[in-house]
C-alpha cells in the first residue's frame, strides 16, 4: 500500500483534470466527450475512465468524423471503444454534406476543417447535449490561452470571449438556459510535453501514426502532407517517401507530418522537449490563414 509521496506536476495536473471532469458530469445533464483519436482526447478519455472507476463512464464519446481521417485513427477508435465497452456517437461531415447542410470545398486547398463546426452543432442539437469535453490546451494557441475551464456557448454555439463567466478558485458555474451548452477543457493547463510524459507514465497506447513510420508525402508551404485520397495535389507537388510522424492528428487535408525517427513515447518526449517549433506551427495548416484564425473559428462554435 502506497503512502504520501512528493507530488509531481503531472500528479497536480491529473487531479485538476479529474476534478473538472467530475464537476461537469455532476452538474450537466447530457455531457459528451469529444473524441478525435488524437493524443489529447485519448489522454482525456483515460482521465475520465479513472475519474469514475470502477464504474463506467457516465457519458458517451462523440467523434466528429470528417471522412478524411487516417485509417489508423479510425481503427484505433473502434478498438478502444470496444475495449472500454463505452458508447460512441459518430457525427458525420459526409452526412452533413449529403443533407446539404454544408458544401464540400473542392480543389487542392479543400478542407473539411471548417465544415466540422456545423456537424458538431447539429449533433449537439440532435442529442440535446449540454456539455462537450474537449482536449484543448491553453499552450496550443493564444486564443485558447484565454479560455475558461467551463466555457459557455449561447444557443447559436457562439463563444463570447469578451464576456466570459468569472471562474474564481475552482468554483465552476455550469448553469445553462435551454439550447445553450458548455465546452469543458480539463487539460487547459497541460502542455504538449505533459501529454507525452503522461502517455509514457500511464503506458497509454496511441495510433501508430504518432510514431516514426515510412509514408508517401509531398511538400506544401514548408509542411509535409500525406498522400491521401482526400488531398488533391498541384502538378508540381511530387510525392516522395519519408520517415515521418504526426505531432497532431486531425483531418488529413490540413495535418502536417514532421521528419522524425522517434519510435516510442520516450523518444517523442525527448524530441518534443528539444523542438524549436510549436505544435500548431509544425503541423496545422488551418491556423496559418490569419492571425486570428482560431479565435474566429472558436467564436462560430469550433472545438
Amino acid at each position: 500500500m502506497a503512502t504520501l509521496t512528493e507530488l509531481s506536476t503531472l500528479d497536480v495536473l491529473e487531479a485538476e483534470a479529474v476534478h473538472v471532469i467530475r464537476e461537469c458530469a455532476a452538474e450537466c445533464e447530457r455531457p459528451v466527450l469529444l473524441f478525435s483519436g488524437g493524443k489529447d482526447s485519448i489522454v482525456l478519455t483515460h482521465l475520465a475512465v479513472k475519474a469514475f472507476a470502477p464504474a463506467g463512464l457516465p457519458f458517451p464519446l462523440l467523434h466528429v468524423d470528417t471522412g478524411h481521417n487516417f485509417d489508423e485513427v479510425v481503427a484505433y477508435r473502434d478498438a478502444m471503444v470496444a475495449r472500454l465497452e463505452e458508447r460512441l456517437i459518430v457525427a458525420s461531415v459526409e452526412e452533413s454534406i449529403a443533407q446539404g447542410r454544408v458544401q464540400d470545398e473542392t480543389g487542392p486547398r479543400a478542407s473539411r476543417n471548417r465544415l466540422q463546426t456545423t456537424t458538431l452543432l447539429d449533433a449537439i442539437a440532435e442529442h440535446r447535449l449540454t456539455a462537450c469535453f474537449g482536449g484543448a490546451r491553453r499552450d496550443e494557441e493564444r486564443s485558447r490561452a484565454k479560455e475558461r475551464f467551463f466555457s459557455h456557448r449561447d444557443a447559436f454555439g457562439q463563444w463570447d470571449p469578451r464576456n466570459q463567466r468569472a471562474e474564481p478558485w475552482s468554483l465552476y458555474n455550469a448553469r445553462l438556459k435551454p439550447g445553450e451548452h458548455l465546452r469543458v477543457f480539463p487539460l487547459s493547463n497541460w502542455t504538449e510535453v505533459d501529454i507525452w510524459a503522461y502517455v509514457e507514465r500511464e503506458g497509454l497506447e496511441l495510433p501508430s501514426i504518432y510514431f516514426a513510420h515510412e509514408r508517401e508525402v509531398f511538400e506544401r508551404d514548408g509542411m509535409l502532407l500525406a498522400v491521401h485520397p482526400a488531398v488533391e495535389r498541384y502538378p508540381h507537388e511530387k510525392p516522395f517517401t519519408e520517415t515521418v510522424r504526426f505531432r497532431t492528428v486531425g483531418d488529413a487535408t490540413c495535418t502536417g507530418a514532421i521528419r522524425s525517427s522517434a519510435a516510442d513515447p520516450r523518444e517523442v518526449l525527448a524530441e518534443t522537449r528539444a523542438s524549436d517549433v510549436s505544435e500548431r506551427g509544425a503541423s496545422r495548416a488551418d491556423d496559418r490563414t490569419s492571425e486570428a484564425a482560431m479565435e474566429d473559428r472558436k467564436r462560430d462554435g469550433y472545438f
Binding site: 512528493e6 487531479a15 476534478h19 469514475f52 484565454k146 474564481p168 458555474n173 445553462l176 506551427g281
Partner: protein
Amino acid sequence: MQSTAPLLRVVAVGSVDDGKSTLIGRLLHDTGHLTRDQLEAVEEASLRRGRKGIDLALLTDGLRAEREQGITIDAAYRSFDANGRRILLADAPGHEQYTRNMVTAAAGSDVAILLVDAVHGITAQTRRHLALCALLGLREIIACVNKIDLVGYDEQRFREIEVGLVEVGAGVGCHHVTVVPISALEGANVVAPAETIPWYAGPTVLDLLHEIDPPMADDAFTMPVQWVVRHDLDGADLRGLSGRIESGAIAVGDDVVALPSGVMSRVARIDVLGTDTDLAAAPLSVTVHLEDDVDVARGDTLVGVDSAPPLSSRVEATVAWLDETPLVPGARMEFRQGTRYVPVIVDSLEARLDLGTLRHEPASALEVNDIGVVSLHTAAPVVAEAYSSNRARGAAILVDSATNRTVGVVILTGTAAAVA
C-alpha cells in the same frame, strides 16, 4: 514534511500600460520557452503595427480586440518551467473596467507579480490591486518597478516607490512585498541580472519565482463531495465518495463528519485514481470509502471531526461584485460553496470599500467591480469559517438564478447576527 510545491500559480497584475504582457513575453522569451515560429509570428505582427523591434506583449494578447487596442481584456494563461517547478502564469487585465477578470485570475493564485510604472509611480490601480490581492489571500507579492530605463535607472526614484509599495502593502494586509527594479522591454532583472542597474544586487523576477515557497496549505482536511461512485463487489453494493482534497490531508482510520448534515463515520479506504493509499493530501482527487453506510451525497463536504467548522445561515462576507446590474440589499441569488448551491438573500450592505482611499464608506448599492461588506442570509446553514483561516472553506460565489451569471466573489469573514 511539507515539500516544495511542484506547481506555483502566479497572477500578473497592475495598471494598464505598466507592461504586464511585455514582462510575461520577456519571461517566456528569456527562459527559452518561445519557439521559432511563435517568435516569427510576433515579429511579423509587430511590424504590421509599425512597432520598432519585437513587441512581446503581442504574445499573450490573444484576442483580436486586445491586439487592436493594445490592452488586455481577459486573463491569458501561460505556463513554463523554472528549475523543475511549473509556473502557471495568468496575465490579468489592468483596466479598471475589467477588474472582475482580474479577480477571477487572482483567486486561487499563490503569488502575485505587481507591475508599477517607474514614471507614474503608485497609482490608484496599484492600491486597488494590492487590496484585492490581500483580500484574496495572496500573501507573497513580487512588485516590479518597470520601465526603470525611462527614469535613467535612477536609484532614488526606485527607493521612493519601494518604500511606498511596502507601506501600501502593510496598510492593506500584504506583508510580504519584495520590490525589484526591472525593464521588461530590455529584459533587465527579469531573468538575468541587469548591468544597467549596478545598485541593485537582489534577486531577479525569475529567481523569486524559483525561490518563493507559497504559504503553507491550510491544514484542516476539507473535501467537497463531487460524485458518489457505486459498484458491486462480490454482491456487496459499495459506495465511494469522490472529490478533490481542497485542504489538509486524510488518513485511513480518521474520523470524519459530513457537513451540513453532521453525519459521522470513519475512513475505511482511500483510492487515489486507482491506487489505494493510507494517506492523501491536497490537491489530490480521491475516492473515500467510509466504514458506515451513511447518507452522504454531492453537496456535502467531508471534514475532520476535530477541525469541523461552525455552520450558520447568517454570514458576514466581503463581496467583489462582478455584474453590470448592481447589488442591492434584499437581492436574492444562489450561494455556491464547495459543491453545494443554497438560495441566499442579501440582508444588508454594510459598506463599500473606496478603492481610492481604501476606506469603508456607507453605500446603498455595489456597482460592477465594487468591493463591499455584506450580511448574507442563506436558506440553510452553510460553512461559516473565515477565508483567512481556510481558503477552501471560506470561498464562495454568487450566481444569479435568472441570468445564470457568476455575479459575485465571496470571501467569508465570519458569522453574522440575525437582523431584527
